[in-house]
């Protein structure tokens, strides 16, 4: 079972990496979007899923990455060299937010993150060095799609691998303990603030990397695109749909989400109902299966196991 899972992961990785050899640009674009979605969802899940700290402000980190890349590229720096700086800035900003905000628990933390995200968006659209609400364009001639595609896919694979590693590590156990009972975790020596800050910084850096690649790919950014609340929303929705706190959940959520996005955008009648669908999905998940698709899968597996009278353990979807 374990070997099967591992080879499935490996086969998908090889497939997407080799895709530029045999797929057309349109399909590659879809895969690019998928990789982007997987990165955002898995990165958010490090803090929101593993540690249970639900932030609705992740567009901030995407924006920091994107703006760092465009602003530096406009000053003649090679776009790919700007990636680490964007990641470092995002991690630093995550500290600035997290240090005070992690004193808040549960939903209070969530609301504080909405406040920060909105404040940053408003600032970005009214100060001048970001180009205001009209946004910024990358310098011409700085773009190679295949390179961008590879970077995005490799980053996606690394993030999922990182999540799988963290889940099994002592760090992951600390996060899980914090999620389930923060006082009990502290009573066993877990410095909850430190681990929350670490998870926040790590995921912020990853999201900023994706933001940089996003800016390079689209060659144009504006507060309305990278700091959008709807973006923060979809970042949260994907892991919740798939199953928070698991490794596969955010990936499943990202697949469904980007498929929905692509299909919906191609059907004119449905184009205007994506909020219905997202909102409806969110309501359904919260009402019936807070563990998302992974939870549904576990239930089905349990059902199958009891139907066939085997007493195999319910597979751990991690």
């Amino acid at each position: 079972m374990k070997a099967f899972k591992a080879s499935l992961w490996a086969a998908s990785a090889i497939f997407v990496l080799a895709a530029p050899r045999f797929l057309d640009r349109g399909t590659l674009n879809d895969l690019w979007n998928l990789a982007f979605a997987v990165i955002l969802a898995s990165a958010w899940n490090l803090l929101g899923g593993f540690a249970g700290q639900v932030s609705l402000g992740y567009s901030v980190f995407l924006g920091i990455g994107a703006y760092t890349t465009v602003l530096l590229s406009l000053r003649g720096v090679d776009p790919f060299l700007t990636l680490p700086l964007g990641a470092i800035l995002a991690a630093a900003f995550s500290f600035v937010i997290g240090l005070p905000a992690f004193r808040l628990r549960g939903p209070y933390f969530t609301i504080a993150t909405i406040g920060v995200a909105e404040a940053v968006r408003v600032c970005a659209s009214s100060v001048s060095f970001t180009g205001g609400s009209s946004g910024l364009r990358m310098p011409a001639g700085s773009f190679d799609f295949n390179l961008n595609y590879f970077s995005m896919v490799v980053l996606a694979i690394l993030v999922v691998a990182l999540a799988a590693y963290i889940k099994r590590s002592a760090f992951g156990r600390a996060l899980a303990a914090i999620k389930q009972d923060i006082d009990a975790a502290e009573a066993l020596g877990v410095n909850s603030t430190r681990f929350k800050l670490a998870a926040h910084a790590l995921s912020a850096a990853v999201v900023a990397l994706a933001g940089s690649l996003y800016a390079i790919n689209f060659q144009y950014i504006a507060p309305g695109s990278v700091f959008d609340f709807r973006l923060s929303l979809s970042i949260v929705l994907m892991p919740i749909l798939g199953g928070v706190g698991t490794v596969i959940g955010p990936v499943l959520g990202a697949i469904i989400f980007s498929t929905l996005q692509i299909k919906l955008l191609s059907i004119p009648a449905l184009r205007d109902s994506f909020l219905f669908i997202y909102g409806g999905l969110l309501i359904l998940v919260m009402l019936y299966e807070p563990h998302g698709l992974v939870g549904v899968g576990r239930r089905l597996a349990a059902l199958a196991a009891s139907a066939f009278g085997t007493n195999r353990r319910i597979p751990d979807a991690g």
């Binding site: 249970g52 639900v54 005070p100 905000a101 004193r103 808040l104 628990r105 549960g106 939903p107 209070y108 969530t110 609301i111 504080a112 909405i114 406040g115 920060v116 909105e118 404040a119 940053v120 408003v122 600032c123 659209s125 009214s126 609340f229 929303l233 949260v236 919740i240 205007d272 109902s273 994506f274 909020l275 219905f276 997202y278 909102g279 409806g280 999905l281 969110l282 309501i283 919260m286 009402l287 807070p290």
Partner: protein
């Protein structure tokens, strides 16, 4: 001097609206310990319903509020009956699940508005929209005066409701000491439904009033939701006077910043969102608790 009067006056007028807007959130939080993100959606819907009443039935927006209030109370109760059971309190702190659930409701409401009214910007133009009157030598828009009066009326109505009726008293009891009230046998389900209805009605009324002051789209409501959070955080989340105090603090701050500092208007919203963050972190119990602490220190 002139400016001081003008700033004070506009802060006061804004505070009335802010208090109405925030009270809707506070009553639901107080009774159910739920953070109602759908509040923004109901404010937006309130604006659109007022708009439709005005444009289709030529009902004056402020008279329209009399329809909006009960209608939204009904919406709130229906919503509670539909999904409320699963939001039942699990403890002293609100659950993240209920927050996300109501977030979903907000998205659905937004989309509903897109479908019914399209995404175009709408506004309400009455005969008095552009008129202004002079108070203490300062020109004030007639709609903001009406908004203030309507807010005052609805808050007074609310106060009477809370003080005089059985359900009102029960709501206050549950808000102030949940465990004791629930142990003493009040019907938690009925009170939650009523609180949810009241909260929704206040959101609708606030939205209706906002529609007479500014243009709106289905996206409308988010920044006001954040302001409402800011207010209840400042006000301590559970008392009517606390909410009024929080509303006043925010309104004064915004108006003073606008009048006396070079902070551009476009950044004013950022100021109140940042204030939300600071307030949450610095006074997790709200200003009233802070005052109480000072008093105790002084006594000791």
């Amino acid at each position: 001097m002139q400016q001081l009067v003008s700033v004070t006056l506009s802060a006061l007028l804004a505070a009335g609206l802010y208090a109405t807007m925030a009270y809707g959130l506070a009553v639901i939080y107080g009774v159910m310990r739920i953070i109602n993100l759908a509040h923004a959606g109901f404010m937006m819907l309130g604006a659109y319903v007022t708009f439709t009443l005005f444009s289709r039935f030529s009902l004056d927006p402020f008279i329209g509020l009399v329809v909006v209030g009960p209608l939204f109370f009904f919406f709130g109760v229906v919503l509670y009956r539909a999904v409320g059971k699963s939001m039942a309190r699990s403890g002293a702190t609100p659950s993240i699940e209920s927050l996300l659930l109501l977030f979903g409701v907000w998205l659905v409401l937004q989309n509903l508005a897109y479908v019914i009214w399209t995404g175009d910007t709408q506004s309400i133009l009455t005969s008095y929209t552009m008129k202004s009157i002079e108070i203490f030598g300062v020109h004030v828009g007639v709609p903001s005066v009406f908004v203030f009066l309507a807010s005052a009326a609805s808050l007074i109505f609310l106060n009477v409701l809370l003080k005089r009726t059985y359900l009102g008293k029960a709501i206050r009891a549950v808000t102030q000491n949940r465990d004791a009230a629930l142990l003493s046998g009040v019907d938690a389900d009925r009170i939650s439904a009523t609180a949810f209805g009241l909260g929704t009605a206040f959101a609708g009324i606030a939205g209706g009033m906002l529609s007479t002051l500014m243009a709106f789209t289905p996206d409308f409501g988010r920044s006001f939701l954040l302001k409402a959070f800011c207010i209840i955080v400042l006000g301590g989340m559970e008392s009517v006077t606390g909410v009024a105090l929080g509303a006043l603090v925010l309104a004064v701050l915004e108006n003073v910043l606008g009048a006396y500092t070079p902070v551009p208007t476009s950044l004013q919203d950022a100021v109140s969102f940042a204030l939300l963050f600071v307030a949450l972190v610095a006074f997790p119990q709200g200003l009233p608790a802070l005052f109480a602490r000072f008093e105790r220190k002084a006594i000791r």
